[in-house]
């Protein structure tokens, strides 16, 4: 006869306010098989857990049901408490009477009745739980870091310094991410390249980091501790071993009129190029779409130009190079793919739920640029060697207008969140401009200044008080070209008057969005993401750097808008989680896996076809003389992830999912409906 202990938690007010916990405990006390039923203010507190341990010992409980919050919150806590009192942890379950009951209902009677039902359903399930023991699987002590921006770099370095191997995959020709495009960085006005380049070189020289730039993740199989990742090494057109990065080919290339992605189209680059001087690895890439030779070849014509091949002393140029695929075994994956800026043009990367700013000219008005383009203008290694010049006519702007919240905090355009960093970098831009062009006028249209970091508010105040930036509170309604001036139509809500500015240049502080293609990457990793494409963390407060998929971690702006200091600290946090994972010899995994009853299995192998992990193998059943009686299905517990698809598919019901058996489901249905 089962002896189950039921513990109903008040969770302070959270449950107690709408659910009569004492009544629930009393009702559960009457249920056959329940040997102990109490309610307590805070079950997850130490005294709360003591109640469980004491009751297990005193009443030799065979199972425990804690009616409290969601199992996602404290299932581990209560299972640990149960097992420390000698009870098998997998006979301890939770009834979710908070998120699924007290918090979403107001009427006390129906909430209490629901709480009783949910608790009784769990009691019936626990009656049919069997003691299970965790599955131990080996861990590959190597980590895959996707994305070579500052977050990816930091995570890779910390993990490698912690003794594990790292494979760092970067989509672009060089690591460095958006940080490498910045001029100075707030709040210290450090030169971005000066603090970033050493880290990039450190990655390149680190014995335990294998850097794969100009590469992308093609597919991911396996599970925590045992991932198999296929990486596509895109054809560079340059043999990595032969090339010593002398750059002769880039100088020899005659076609130098191609807009440089690194310079956001403001600068030009040749068809064979290294994105920026401090690139790591310092290897050029052939732009196959724009190289005149390859274009001629694709049209079957004679080879038009071989300038780069002739210039290269080491014969490193190799147009025959094809994409290559490499498979890596890793135990953990860190997603650090960073962000992209919201488009100021009409097209939003094909996304139907985002709209451009027609009222700001859809990006067609010359000298209306975004924050990253301003960074390239201000950067010493930029197309204008650090001089702020108008892209249209190269003149120095006398008046620059900066617009905060372009895309951000604008549900009408499809983005309702605040991108967090723009208040800071706009203050920085105003400061840089005032430093370089003392007579120039910097006008910033803002709604609220959100500068909450260490030394942040002081930074924006300095821009206003000492650097003479003019802050006008009000969003701009529209702007239009009038001659070679940009008329900005705004309103000063503090002064209560329309506020118009004739600007020579307008910088739009556009919203931060995750990188394009994040959805397909998340699906390859079977990780969930939100409406905008940001990766969903396991728990916003308690597990911010993990995802719900064990073994996959997240760092930097791919999870939410984030500045450099936060990205770096988050990357180090992620690295500590990965190193924590690698620190134990074997990994313990939940034993909720499928098991085949060989006696009744007819060997139809439907289960094998539906299993996404290939966990089903064929097993011969022999008699004592060794003759094969029949071949049945068998599940490898190490590979099975416990999805249960096979169980629902098996025609003869001869495979069961431990912890979620059919019998347990019937029991829950009956407990509710009678």
């Amino acid at each position: 006869m089962a002896r189950i202990g039921v513990f109903v938690c008040h969770c302070g007010e959270n449950i107690g306010r709408t659910v009569d916990c004492h009544a629930v405990a009393e009702a559960l006390g009457q249920v056959p098989g329940v040997a102990h039923a109490v309610d307590y203010k805070y079950m997850c507190s130490d005294p709360g857990q003591q109640l469980i341990k004491a009751a297990i010992a005193e009443k030799q409980l065979t199972g425990v049901v804690v009616a409290a919050c969601s199992p996602h919150m404290h299932e581990k806590t209560f299972r640990r408490a149960a097992s420390s009192a000698g009870l098998n942890p997998f006979t301890c379950e939770m009834a979710n009477v908070r998120e699924h009951c007290s918090w979403i209902h107001e009427d006390r009677a129906s909430a209490t009745a629901k709480a009783i039902d949910l608790s009784r359903m769990m009691v019936e399930k626990v009656k049919r739980n069997v003691p299970l023991s965790t599955i131990r699987i080996p861990v590959t002590r190597r980590a895959l870091v996707i994305g070579g921006g500052i977050a990816g770099i930091q995570a890779a370095l910390d993990i490698a310094d912690g003794g594990a191997e790292v494979v760092l995959v970067e989509k672009a020709p060089s690591i460095g991410g958006h940080m490498s495009q910045l001029s100075e960085t707030f709040p210290t006005l450090d030169c971005s390249q000066c603090i970033l380049t050493p880290r990039m070189v450190e990655v390149y020289q680190h014995p335990r980091i294998r850097l794969m730039s100009w590469s992308e993740v093609e597919s991911v199989e396996g599970y925590i501790g045992n991932f198999k990742v296929t990486i596509r090494k895109k054809a560079r057109g340059v043999d990595e071993d032969k090339c010593n990065g002398c750059g002769a080919c880039t100088r020899a290339c005659p076609n130098k009129r191609i807009p440089s992605e690194f310079d956001c189209g403001l600068g030009k680059r040749p068809a064979i190029y290294v994105p920026f001087p401090q690139a790591v690895p310092n290897l050029p890439v052939v732009d196959r779409a724009r190289c005149t030779l390859l274009i001629a070849r694709s049209k079957g014509k004679k080879d038009a130009c071989m300038k780069c091949v002739e210039a290269c002393q080491r014969g490193a140029i190799d147009f025959e190079q094809k994409d290559r695929f490499v498979t890596e075994e890793v135990g953990a994956i860190v997603v650090a793919t960073g962000y992209q800026l919201y488009e100021i043009g009409r097209d939003q990367g094909g996304r139907k739920d985002l709209h451009g700013y027609g009222e700001y000219g859809y990006g067609t008005i010359p000298d209306v640029i975004d924050g990253m383009q301003f960074e390239r203008l201000a950067s010493a290694s930029g197309p204008t060697a650090g001089r702020i010049l108008r892209p249209s006519d190269g003149r120095e702007p006398r008046t620059i207008v900066f617009l905060q919240c372009v895309g951000s905090r604008d549900p009408a355009k499809g983005i309702e969140y605040c991108s967090k960093i723009c208040c800071m970098y706009v203050a920085k831009h105003a400061m840089l401009y005032r430093h370089k062009e003392n007579g120039g006028r910097a006008v910033v249209f803002y709604m609220d200044i959100r500068a909450a970091g260490k030394g942040y508010d002081e930074f924006t105040r300095r821009a206003i008080e000492e650097e003479g930036a003019e802050y006008v509170r009000g969003r701009v309604s529209r702007m239009y070209r009038d001659g070679d001036v940009i008329k900005v139509v705004g309103f000063d809500t503090l002064g209560g008057e329309p506020f118009g500015v004739d600007a020579d240049m307008v910088v739009l502080a556009t919203a931060m969005r995750p990188q394009p293609g994040i959805e397909s990457l998340a699906q390859k990793l079977s990780v969930s993401y939100d409406r905008h494409g940001f990766i969903n963390e396991a728990h916003p407060k308690l597990r911010p750097v993990e995802t719900n998929t064990a073994g996959v971690f997240v760092a930097g702006a791919c999870q939410a808008p984030r500045d450099i200091p936060d990205s770096v600290s988050m990357a180090s946090a992620t690295a500590s989680k990965v190193l924590g994972l690698f620190s134990n010899e074997m990994l313990e995994r939940e034993p909720t896996v499928a098991r085949v009853d060989a006696a009744i299995c007819a060997g139809c192998f439907h289960c094998e076809r539906v299993c996404p992990y290939g966990a089903v193998t064929h097993m011969e059943v022999k008699d004592r003389q060794g003759n094969v009686l029949k071949v049945v299905a068998d599940v490898n517990p190490g590979v099975c992830q416990g999805c249960g698809t096979c169980v629902a598919t098996c025609p003869s019901k001869s495979v069961e999912l431990q912890g979620f058996t059919d019998e347990q489901v019937w029991a829950q249905i009956q407990a509710f409906l009678g």
Binding site: M447, S477, F491, P498
Partner: protein
């Protein structure tokens, strides 16, 4: 409970509740960014611009909206609604406020504008369509601008632009029933 009211506002008490009940819009969405007022063509001639109107609705200050003629100078050009990041539709909120204010104080609107709307609606109630002569006469009588545009009459006439006889709607009773129906709905609406 009508579709516009939600569980928390059973009976519209504040001005914001009344606006929400009338339009289904939630004035609290406005975060006072001023983008509507920046684009408002009448901002130069009014003291209470669209974002001020939204503020006074959220602060439940019908008195200030009544004592100022600004809400009557709204052209209904929908620029504010087109630009609003939170889709508060200040234009429709202003319409609702005008309806509420006029119910409380019929003479709140400036005389000329009241005269124009009254003359306009009177024309439709009588003929179902607008006779421009009838509108101008009705407007002049009510607004006291007896000789406004008088000089223009001959020019209009010579260009065949003055339709003396306003062509009528045959079933003008049907139009009058609509006016009555809306008025009745107005009371209990």
């Amino acid at each position: 409970m009508s579709a516009h009211e939600d569980a928390h506002h059973p009976v519209p008490r504040t001005l914001a509740d009344k606006v929400r009940a009338a339009t289904g819009l939630n004035p609290a969405r406005c975060y006072q960014c001023g983008k509507c007022s920046a684009g408002c063509p009448m901002a130069a001639e009014t003291t209470l611009r669209p974002h001020d109107v939204m503020r006074l609705v959220n602060q439940d200050r019908p008195d200030r909206l009544m004592d100022d003629e600004s809400i009557w100078l709204c052209l209904g050009c929908e620029t504010c609604a087109a630009r609003c990041p939170n889709e508060c539709e200040p234009a429709r909120v202003t319409d609702a406020v005008r309806e509420i204010v006029a119910a409380a104080r019929p003479d709140a609107a400036p005389r000329a504008i009241r005269a124009f709307h009254a003359a306009f609606l009177d024309q439709i109630r009588k003929h179902g369509r607008l006779g421009e002569m009838g509108l101008i006469m009705g407007y002049k009588l009510r607004s006291g601008h007896l000789f406004a545009d008088a000089a223009a009459a001959p020019g209009m006439m010579s260009r065949g632009k003055l339709a003396f006889v306003a062509d009528k709607v045959e079933d003008v009773e049907d139009v009058r029933r609509i006016f009555a129906g809306c008025a009745a709905h107005g009371e209990e609406g």
